[in-house]
Amino acid sequence: MVLTIAKRLAAGVGLLFVVATLIFIALHLVPGDPARTILTGTGAVPTDAAVENLREQLGLNLPLGQQYLRYLHELVTGSLGTSLNDNRPVIELIGERLPRTLQLIGSTTVVSVIVGVTIGALAARRGGLIDRIVMVLTSFAVAVPAYVAAVLLVYFVGVKLQWLPSGGYVDPAVDVGRHLRALVLPTISLSLGFSGIVARMTRSAVLNVGNQDWVRTALSVGLTRGQVFRRHVLRNSLSPVVTVTSLQMGGLLGGTVIIERVFSWPGLSGLLIDGVTSRNYPVVQGIVILIAALFILLNIVVDIVYGLLDPRGRSK
């Protein structure tokens, strides 16, 4: 086990190198010149000379190989380079944003898993009308764009009812209460699709294990159907649920941009997308490597969880 994890971590380091190289190549293949984008911004008119000048300043006119080596060096030393448009160390930018994103992911995951597993399990167990309602609701949840849900929430809960702040991030160090209140709507918006997915997966998995012989055994010793359901059926259905949960969590690392925008939540995704749209190579590279690293860790954890969930699957 320990050996497996060590192997995976070692592989992870190699993988990071691959990801780093690929993202470097990708960014440099994609058109769009960071210097021009920085200078033009939303409407300035830089001369070509100025663009050239900035390129030189940013080291963008060095041969690609040299840029790559410099990049690798920054990577190994852990600094991840400096942002092209504000000269701040990328690691610092990420350090600022990551906790907020993680928090959003955390609250969303907790809510989605609880809600998703509950309604998915309910649908599978009860069947009939409840099942149909859940199917419809989850179809909505996964098919309605997050943006629409978010804007509607802001409008009705934030603007009309004024129950909760319509956006903005409040540092928990400043005011925990307001911080938590600000967390509610973004969490709900992100949880819609997420919990829909979890619900669907749970429903299917439960239906799939629900008719095994051991269910009968568990019933025969006097457990209630509820107990059998919770302790046995549900537990045996968890593996695909864990998988989709991990995938969603990973996806949220760089995928909350819309929600961050709508709720003015300064997280990692916004930084990533701004980085992409301004071709801020170091920022994008830094974030992608970070996401890769987190994904790799997450997958290792999930693979361990698979083993815990089902002893038969443990690698031989």
Binding site: T42, A44, S83, P266, T277
Partner: protein, 488 residues
């Protein structure tokens, strides 16, 4: 919301339309940076609420033939950090603007500076290579700010200036806070103690924040929310038409649009009202001629309404140009901004009617910029705003100096000559005549085709007074009026 705390400090919360991660006062970094610069900094001159140029840090401004400008500073000026603001700082700031490598927004004006003399701590004498009637209008822009000489050239922003507010804190992506600068040169100003700029880059989030009262004012209410804001009895919608949308052509010889007749045909073919209605949600006006705002002294009614949609005429012109059956061309726009994309779609439908089939290229913004700079298009949609209300801004649209803003490969000696002469002319009527001539030539030659004026509106709470939208091109300089704003 504006709270008068126990210690009776007044706070204005302001919804800013985007983050400015690296505020560089000299540069054009978009409208959000202009708002921030306008509270942190001051130049020698500035705009007032009506768009007039008024002295600012300079107590007196005088000129000799629009070629030699003398500025005399108020006495005892200091920067936020307490250091004295002297003519040396003025000199350093102007020199920085004149340095091409800095890509200063003021460069088009500052590049003509030949000498800067500072006979004493208060006086600065600027000599230009040629008379420039527009010089002060450039200097009045927020990026004409006077900066502490030691901060110039530094990579990280210090935010130290001589404006009405000084920097308190900035959190990337979230919030930018300033507070009243006690030693601001204007007595009793500003009135509001503290401004908290919330970064709300999503249009609907910003509108919601205004509507729900979680901010007191916002830059740029969404077009679709004008009605809601004006219907709200607590809110003011302060609107002006500033930026405009237009078409650029590739005028190099391998594009059919190198022929002025074809360009004219386009100018006759487009339905400008349709652009306003479909791309700007009706919030704007057709731009049927020269892009000179009505508030400008150089506005020429006839030239402003030069083109009307006339498909027959357009077809005739095309035939005359040798394309009786039309042709196929590429249209460059960007899907990153709705109104760019929708303008293109609207134009595409119009041109189809005269036989020009446009193949759409709508990448994201940086790609759009790169394609534009490389001239890999036949016709492109663009939007911009005049850097000043003075028509000299047209060089950004009509000469290669304009790069992005100008038609690819367009370098017309007649236009260049008229622009130089217009800039140099010191006599108002003479200038007007030159710009009229330019207008007539440009409309006929059609290197660019105007489409629509875009409405920009600030929205704010009724209890905020003194803050207002400076009309026309100067709308983005409106932050100047925050120094006059009161709340309560």
């Amino acid at each position: 919301s504006a709270n008068t705390g126990e210690d009776s400090t007044t706070v204005l919360t302001y919804g800013l339309d985007s983050d400015v991660p690296n505020l560089q006062t000299l540069k054009n970094q978009g409208s959000a940076s202009m708002i921030l610069n306008s509270v942190l900094h001051r130049g020698l001159v500035q705009y007032d609420a009506d768009g007039n140029i008024v002295p600012a840090l300079a107590a007196e401004v005088s000129d000799v033939d629009k070629q030699e400008y003398t500025f005399v500073l108020h006495e005892g000026l200091t920067f936020h950090d307490g250091s004295a603001l002297t003519s040396e700082d003025v000199k350093a700031s102007l020199e920085a603007m004149a340095d091409a490598d800095n890509v200063a927004k003021m460069y088009p004006a500052a590049k003509n500076i030949v000498s800067i003399d500072t006979p004493d701590d208060l006086t600065t004498i600027v000599k230009l290579s040629a008379p420039d009637a527009a010089f002060l209008s450039y200097m009045a822009d927020v990026s004409g700010a006077i900066l502490p000489s030691e901060s110039i050239g530094q990579e990280d922003p210090t935010y130290v200036g001589a404006g009405p507010y000084k920097f308190v804190s900035y959190e990337n992506g979230s919030e930018f806070v300033v507070e009243k600068f006690d030693d601001y040169y204007e007595e009793d100003k500003p009135s509001i103690d503290r401004i908290e700029f919330k970064i709300l880059s999503d249009q609907s989030a910003r509108d919601s924040a205004l509507l729900s009262g979680s901010v007191d004012a916002v830059s740029f209410v969404g077009w679709n929310n004008y009605d809601q804001v004006s219907a709200n009895s607590n809110l003011v919608l302060d609107e002006t038409e500033g930026p405009f949308m237009y078409l650029l052509f590739n005028t190099t010889s391998d594009s059919p649009f190198s022929n002025p007749l074809v360009r004219q045909a386009v100018a006759y073919a487009v339905d400008r009202q349709a652009v306003v209605d479909s791309a700007l949600a009706g919030r704007g006006e057709p731009l049927s001629g020269m892009p000179i705002p009505e508030s400008s002294e150089y506005y020429n009614e006839e030239q402003a309404n030069y083109y009307t949609q006339d498909l027959d005429k357009a077809k005739e012109l095309l035939a005359e140009a040798g394309y009786p059956n039309g042709f196929t061309a590429t249209m460059l726009s960007s899907s990153q901004y709705d109104f760019h994309q929708n303008t293109a779609i609207s134009v595409q439908a119009d041109l189809k009617k005269i036989g020009i089939e446009l193949e759409m290229v709508m990448p994201d913004w940086p790609t759009r910029l790169e394609i534009g700079a490389a001239g890999d298009y036949d016709i492109a949609v663009y939007g911009t705003v005049g850097i000043t209300n003075d028509p000299s801004f047209l060089d950004q649209l009509l000469t290669p100096a304009g790069s992005q803003n100008a038609p690819f490969g367009y370098d017309d000696p007649t236009v260049n000559d008229l622009l130089t002469r217009g800039r140099a002319a010191t006599d108002e009527t003479e200038r007007k005549a030159i710009y009229d001539e330019l207008g007539a030539y440009v409309l006929e030659n059609a290197p660019i085709v105007g489409l629509a004026w875009r409405s920009q509106a600030y929205g704010y709470d009724k209890k905020v007074s003194g803050f207002s939208n400076i009309p026309g091109f100067l709308t983005f300089d409106s932050g100047y009026t925050l120094a006059d704003a009161t709340i309560g």
